[in-house]
Every structure is written in structure tokens, then in C-alpha cells.
Amino acid sequence: MTSADTNRATGKGPLFYVGLMAAAYAAVAALAITGAVEGPAIYMLVIAPFGLVFPMMAAANRRIDAGGAGCIGKGEAQRRYMKRVAMFSSLYLVVLGVMTFVLKSSEPHFAIRSILALLPGLAVIGIFWAVGRLIVEEQDEFLRMLVIRQSLIATGFALSAATVWGFLETADVVFHLEAYWWAVAWFFGLGVGAAANRVQYGTWGAV
């Protein structure tokens, strides 16, 4: 079955919803940058497009059931992985919104600030945990190898970028970057890993 056949058989693919979400976030960013919306309204607008995660998951599940394109096999482990990622990503957006709102609108006590600041990090740790569980639960050894390879490439990418940036920062060549951006670099590295899988094994991988 070709990718086009699979699309016809299963309706809109998950990438369609990812594209919609990216477009919605681009629109929200444009509104925020131009000052068209301000304050709490921005947080509401940031959370709203995330609702597209659910049709995206449904589309990905249909793709799994159809055994279609991408590196998707029997899929139970991948289905659980997607649910966990959607759950922790939703949690991340909510706690990030709450943290930003509370910190900007009041001056909470040190303990409250600490707890609020820990929550988004814990949600991101949840996503790392989901990748780890996928590696443990995936029964298909080839798919498991692809996820491990992708994660190793992402880790190498993020650590290399952090090390190089750190020294450049020490030498005052680049501006200061908050450490949570290295998690973002790791997620970007997963994309690099997927491309490497595609080149070497002809398939993108499962993450």
C-alpha cells in the first residue's frame, strides 16, 4: 500500500493536523508580536490549538490500524506512547500558562514560585519518560532499534549544541540562553535522528 493509498483509506493524516497546529501557533505568535492580543488572552490562544492533538492522535491511530506509511507496525506500544506524549504536552502547556500568568500578575512567595517553576520541567520529563517506555515496550526489534538510534542522535545533538554554546557564551560571543532550550534542541535532534533513519534504513522511525 502506497502512502497515497493509505491517505485515501484513512482520511487526513496526522501531519495535516500538525500543519494546522503550526499555522495556528504562527498566527498566535503574530498576534502577540504585533500587540493585537495581550495578557491572559495570549495564554488562552496558546492552549486552544493544542486541541488539535486529539484529531492528530486519532489520525495516527487510523494509520496504525491501516498498517500504512511511516514506520508504524503493530502499534500498541506506539499508541501508548502517543497518548502519553499528548497527555504530558497538554499538561506542559497548562502549567506553563499558569506559571507565566501567576508570575506576571503577582509576586508569590518563594515556595510557590519554586513549585510553579518545577511543574513545566516535570511535564517535559514526562515526555522523556514516554520515549523511554516506548523503547521498553516496543516488541518489534527493528522499530525499537530505530527509536534508540533516534534518541542517541538527539542526545548527541543536544549535548554538542549545549557544550559549544556554553563556551561561546563564556567568551561573550553569543547571548545567554536558558537551559530549558537544550530540551528543545533534543526534540529537534529527534527530527535529525528520524532523517538519519530514513537515509540509512529507508524509514523515519516511530517517534
Binding site: 498498517g67 514506520c71 508504524i72 507496525g73 503493530k74 526489534e141 527493528f142 534504513y201 529507508g202 524509514t203
Partner: protein, 63 residues
Amino acid sequence: MKNRLKVLRAERSWSQQDLADRLAVSRQSVNAIETGKYDPSLPLAFKLADVFELAIEDIFERD
């Protein structure tokens, strides 16, 4: 590692998906093994041998 999966499948008129279903793996796994991009573990090689009712060395050859 070289293998005879494509020939063995063709003799039985199995698609890659048919073989994947018999092995309980993804079609991508069968494709990667068949094209020599991925060498299966010993347990999966034994499973392949069972599915084709052959010995492992009748399916895989040394490079």
C-alpha cells in the same frame, strides 16, 4: 548478511505484510531484513526459520 527472503516469499505468494503478520513484526522490519539493511536477532531468525520450515542457514548466507 545476504538472505533468500524475497525468493522464499515469492515461492509462497506472500507479500511482505503477510510475512510480517506471521512473524508479528512490522512490514518495515521485513523490508529492512529482506533488503539486507538490518540483520535480525537470533530469536527473530529462528522465528523466520519456523515460518518457512527451513533451517536458518537455508535462509541466511554469510557475506
